[in-house]
Symmetry: C2
Subunit: 269 residues, 2 copies
């Protein structure tokens, strides 16, 4: 009999739905519990101390479901809070930074790579440190793109404003001749087309969401913790603030499917 405890997945908001979608595809016999902190999104512009505090509150909430593992589907939290969470909770955490780093190093040929993310993720230097620790020869160019999340949230994934904003942020990385670009924010895969079009065909766009799902799958198999629920065990979605229409729209953009979410307050747990 399998380990049918659920898998927890959380993000600062709805961007992590790109990760949840990949997990549902890769592990259809697992039950997924998603939490998006939509009342306090975005985390990207907040201090490490505040991000740590919020992350611990969410892990506490997910622990209440007796989860067997928690996926940190948020680059800001992965970059800032992985160690704090792992020390505080007796639950395995899977973060999104390492899978992206490994895939990027496997893909690059000229050893010039780019990382884009929120100001907090870029300021943390998490991607850069891990890339350099794994390969001292790699050159890493990082760029914060604070307008990408608001563009996605306004469903502006194409068009002139998006194209100009992509150009403003990525022009320098393109001129530097990078051959791989890590999408270091879970919202960014939703505008992957616009980013890829600007960067050109020679540049690998590395999407940590699918790689994180693969890492989780391997972890559960290695530890004999896989579940064997019926296919399509219905996932549950919780948010700290709910705009039904918007949640549905981002669900569709991020996962190709629309789910319902329930609103809960972290302070009542």
């Amino acid at each position: 009999m399998g380990d049918n405890r659920p898998i927890g997945v959380f993000d600062s908001g709805v961007g992590g739905l790109t990760v949840a979608g990949e997990i549902i595809k890769a592990l259809p016999k697992e039950k997924l519990i998603y939490f998006g902190d939509t009342a306090r999104v975005p985390y990207g512009s907040k201090s490490t101390e505040t991000v740590n505090k919020f992350a611990c509150e969410i892990a506490e909430f997910l622990r209440g479901f007796d989860v067997k593992a928690i996926v940190i589907a948020c680059n800001t939290v992965s970059s800032n809070s992985y160690n704090v969470l792992s020390e505080k909770f007796d639950i395995p955490f899977i973060e999104v930074v390492s899978p992206g780093v490994n895939a990027c190093l496997a893909a690059t040929k000229n050893k010039k790579v780019g990382v884009i993310g929120t100001p907090a993720t870029i300021a943390s230097g998490a991607y850069e440190k891990k890339l350099k620790a794994a390969d001292g020869e790699v050159e890493v160019y990082s760029k914060a793109c604070p307008l990408f999340v608001p563009l996605v949230e306004d469903c502006l994934t194409e068009g002139d404003i998006t194209a100009l904003t992509v150009e403003m942020y990525l022009k320098e990385l393109k001129e530097l001749g990078i051959d791989s670009l890590i999408l270091g924010c879970t919202h960014y895969p939703i505008m992957k087309e616009s980013i890829g079009r600007f960067m050109g065909e020679g540049v690998n766009i590395v999407n940590p969401a699918s790689l994180t799902a693969r890492t989780l799958k391997k972890y559960l198999e290695d530890k004999s913790m896989t579940g064997d629920l019926e296919e399509d065990a219905y996932p549950e979605f919780y948010v700290s603030d709910l705009n039904r229409e918007k949640f549905g729209e981002i669900c569709r953009l991020a996962m190709g499917e629309v789910y319902e979410a329930k609103k809960i307050s972290l302070e009542n747990i």
Copy 2:
């Protein structure tokens, strides 16, 4: 002797600094205590219930300073929570919607007016209802502009991206022939030039920040509650999350002067 208790001013973040700046100018003998909920900004995309909860927590914090009045320097909170706050607290509240409405009605000649703001402010219909209640003949055209706040926060108050975004949101209002436009979000005065340039000289741009300061002044005078502190009583600024550099930059854009802020947690009061 004057009533030298301080005046509380709060906003979801740093946008309310435009209002604080106008109050400091209009009432130099008053002490101002500002709170910006930067850990949970933006409120514009959150539900009324959540906005009410946050607003009550902040009013509780300001009450701790024995404030004589509280200015709600946030259109989202003014639109959603004024009644809740006034019922719950025995403190006079001054909100930013009514001053903008009155100035707009005084300015319009063709009785076609526009209102722009965050999705929550526009969805609340607060400006529209007050405008129509005061003058049944006025035609009101409203438009949510969710990208304006991120643009200001990224200091993009000018340039192609800003011009295109202004055009995208305001084109319809311009074509409809409005002659007055209320900036229904405290961040928007910071990009007033770009908005005014697109709308053209025939359109009055109504900035509720300065009008709110005037309303507060009149209220204190009417109730004999004015202070007589020495000129330039140094204001105090509190935020729930602090990025010193960004706070300074927005201070400069919004108030023409740079102040220091202290970080506090609302949960510790």
